[in-house]
Amino acid sequence: MAYAYLFKYIIIGDTGVGKSCLLLQFTDKRFQPVHDLTIGVEFGARMITIDGKQIKLQIWDTAGQEAFRSITRSYYRGAAGALLVYDITRRDTFNHLTTWLEDARQHSNSNMVIMLIGNKSDLESRREVKKEEGEAFAREHGLVFMETSAKTAANVEEAFINTAKEIYEKIQEGVFDINNEANGIKIGPQHSTAGGASGAGGAGAGGAAGGGCC
């Protein structure tokens, strides 16, 4: 499917905060109450429209367990946006945010847009982390903040789309080098043909000259 840009996202946060459910809600518009543990990194994609442009979001949903940290770290690189998720009914998941943030900042490119998500907003009765606390944390670290519920789908779209908007704005401002795929942004096939770099079979190869990693 034709797209103007492709943004790569990563979803991080403690285990059981609802990362996979957020992704499922965003890509499939459904909620699975009993979700299997993510073993490794899952993958999802969806088209959205920003400013009249088709943008494909390619989302990596990572495992939250400490044991998988080494695997998931390799996915930080090459992500343009990150959703840092905690569970508003579990304070420890909020407390771990600093670690996650450090990890993300260390392993990703500096321009990565990070959005802080307080998930499970439908469980108001069991809330342990106040919304204000989340807001304060986000302000302090320069993140965008939002409370969502993967179960009721509240704010889920917004979370992903707002992140995409921010990335898009940064592109417009020239902050991202869109020709470097390591930034997690790829120009769609209809744009790259102008460069004339690729021939008959090179539809998906884009303008990148290869070797984004390492």
Binding site: L37, I39, G40, V41, E42, A63, G202, A205
Partner: protein, 866 residues
Amino acid sequence: MAFLEWRKFSFFDIHKNVDNGKVAECLQDTHVTATTSGNGHVVLCDVTGWAHLISRSWEITSFKAYELTVTLAQQLPHDPYLVTIGDDETGVLPLIKVWDWSRRDRHGNPTCTRVSRAVPSHMKPTPATALAVHENKNLLAVGFLDGSVSLFRGDIARQRSGKMRTLPDTGTSPITALAFKGADKLYVVSRAAVSVVWLGVERCVALDCMGAAPACAVLADSQRLTIANNEALYVYTTEGRGPCYALEGEKVRLDWFRSYLVITRNESPSKSTASTSTAPIPKSHHITILDIQNKFIVFSKAFEEIDAVLTEWGSFYILTKNKEMIYLEEKDLQSKLTLLFKKNLYDVAIRIASSQHYDEAGLTEIYKQYGDHLYSKGDLKGAIEQYVKTIGWLETSYVIRKYLESRHLEPLVQYLEELHKKKGCATEDHTTLLLTCYMKIDQHDHQGKLKEFINSKDKAIDFDVDVAIKVMRQVSVDDALSLAANYKRHDWYLKMMLEDKKDYRQALDYIVELEFEDADMYMKKYGHRLIQHEPRESTNFLKLLCTDYKPRSKPLVDEASLSGGGVRASASALPDEYIHMFLANSERLIDFLEHMIKTRDDCFNLVYDALIEHYIHVWAKSPESEKKEYEEKILGVLKNPEAKYDKDQTLIICQMLGFQAGVLYLYEENKLWRAQVALHLRGGDAEGALSVCRRRGALCPRLWLDVLGASPPASALPELLNVIANEKLLSPILVVDCLASTPTYTLGDVRKYLTDVLKSEAAVISREQELSAKYRAESGRMKAQARALQERPVVLQASRCAVCNKPLELPTMHFLCQHSFHQSCFTTYAESESECLVCAASRRRPDAAPHAAEALHARIHNEHDP
């Protein structure tokens, strides 16, 4: 770390020694270097250069492929071609051989159709480490220890066809795997990197900066490349890295079969020391089979050291170091499901069943079992979600009864709602039940579910509106009304409004909003009742309906007419059809009809008839003072030349209700003057009768006699008698007879008549006497003449012809009347020989005075008896 794994099942049965040791026998003390399978055969190549072709029935064909050793082999999946790489001598470039085992030489060995050298980037002898052959038999890639990849294009089965090229940018670390994706892309896996080569432009794009060990990369689904390293499995597409599945352990092999990924790991005896374990002592391998799609581990077991995993003949075969063939047979779906049911893993069962395209009925059964299970555990809401999925297959009563018995309405409502959402599943009874549930719930906690249901305009739930209305009507008429209004069930709405609410004005208001056709139809249906209860408004509405109707909600001037797109034919109903509705309400009907007649010029008879009839009714009922007014109105209509009423019917009505003026007018119209006279006379209105007589007596003299016969008052007699006398309508005797029958007349009343009659009689008598004397004289004269003719001779003295007046010449003709003629003259003029020309002519002359006798005869003949 065991818990950080996918759910584990055992979907495979192990059958040991399926080949009865044949493989072991054939391999004996060599060991296997390369294995491949395809086209119904498994190929094992050993270190001594032999290749063994094994058929399904374990018949083995062995042939010497290379002098020294075979290093790589690939069997094409659909063709009998086997491609091998090996060495015939040391220190030279490896040799590619293509074997066609459908053609055998005289020893029964496959023929070698091609031998060529595998040439790396530089000509130095380098071992080949990876081989890939495309199914189309036109692409062949070889990877080398030095990191270079060579690509052959052209028919691989032909000697010296095609060219060999070295692909650029593939790095320097040893190539461990190659895989074609389609005919234009080639995945290249080395120890240090994963990349994809676009064959069209021969450009290499790196996908990742970590590689895999030999045999630890496989093309899954012929789409995605999966590679395994010690900590995880990574999936790649040509676009880049995709998901990854964490699975620790040192991987030995990676194979793909159907949707299963078969992973062979080195079994580490103790997991805590896994990272440092390099000890070669406990050589055993662990096979793990992943169902990638459903994310399960479907098999996991440790074996002794494994040489190869073969996927052919629909399942897996494991070849151990000890040359033992172990067959892993996949359980059939039913036993898999049974296994899962036992563990109550219904969700997993559903996932597996649907991924294997289990049929709908079977899936439904699983959903049902799952639902039953959840139900028995008390998770009613969860259960209903499962039951919902059985809609369309499972008998709905099964679920409904369950929930009705336990009196759990909300899940039931959910079920029923879903039932209604599915087209054609919900019956009337379901709708009834659903609504009843809504009502029960509403009674309980006033959630207004019912309201919500009714107001769901977009019809999120598909239900039979009529049924719903019927049910609602019994409970809450207001709700039923709004439902009916929402779904435009006008009939229901009006019926309820009229029968249940008895709010006629509201009903009328509703009709006013409708389109013409509907308004017309429903007015016909319910107009009667509306008029009965809301006469004024209904009449006004009917007026509108019958003239120029537009629904009230519509703008007065619609767009069509604004844009000048032709004048819209304004709909209007036929007034005739509404007349009967007014029944006894003459006043309103008159109002209505007057309006109709005023505004429409195409009214039918019925309209006029009805109008007149009701005018007369009103006239009959109204007090004396107003009668005049109505009388004028009626006559106005009657006299209106455009009014198309039925005269006969109107006449009857007039007669029945005693509307004299009308009757008279109609008699007049129909020229029924006698009836008119009779009417006057019956009413004792002699003057009226006489006036009719005066007007019409000339045409119909009988009128006078009618008056006479009806014993008119004495005052009318003179005129009457005068006319009768003048016109001689009746003989005086009869007149006297007639008069005598009425005792009230005095002689004075008729004296003049009698004297006149007598006078004229006397005059007649004297005249007749004169005439008779005259006739008698004449007849005497005639008799004398006749006698003379008979008795005396007649002297014919005429000397001239009576015709030509010339002297007579013979031949002549003589008549007794003294006329003589030339015969020639006579024959020329005479019409008959027996008649004198002159006498005949004189008799025929019109002005000739009639003969007295003849005149008498004529008179007698003409005069009829009085």
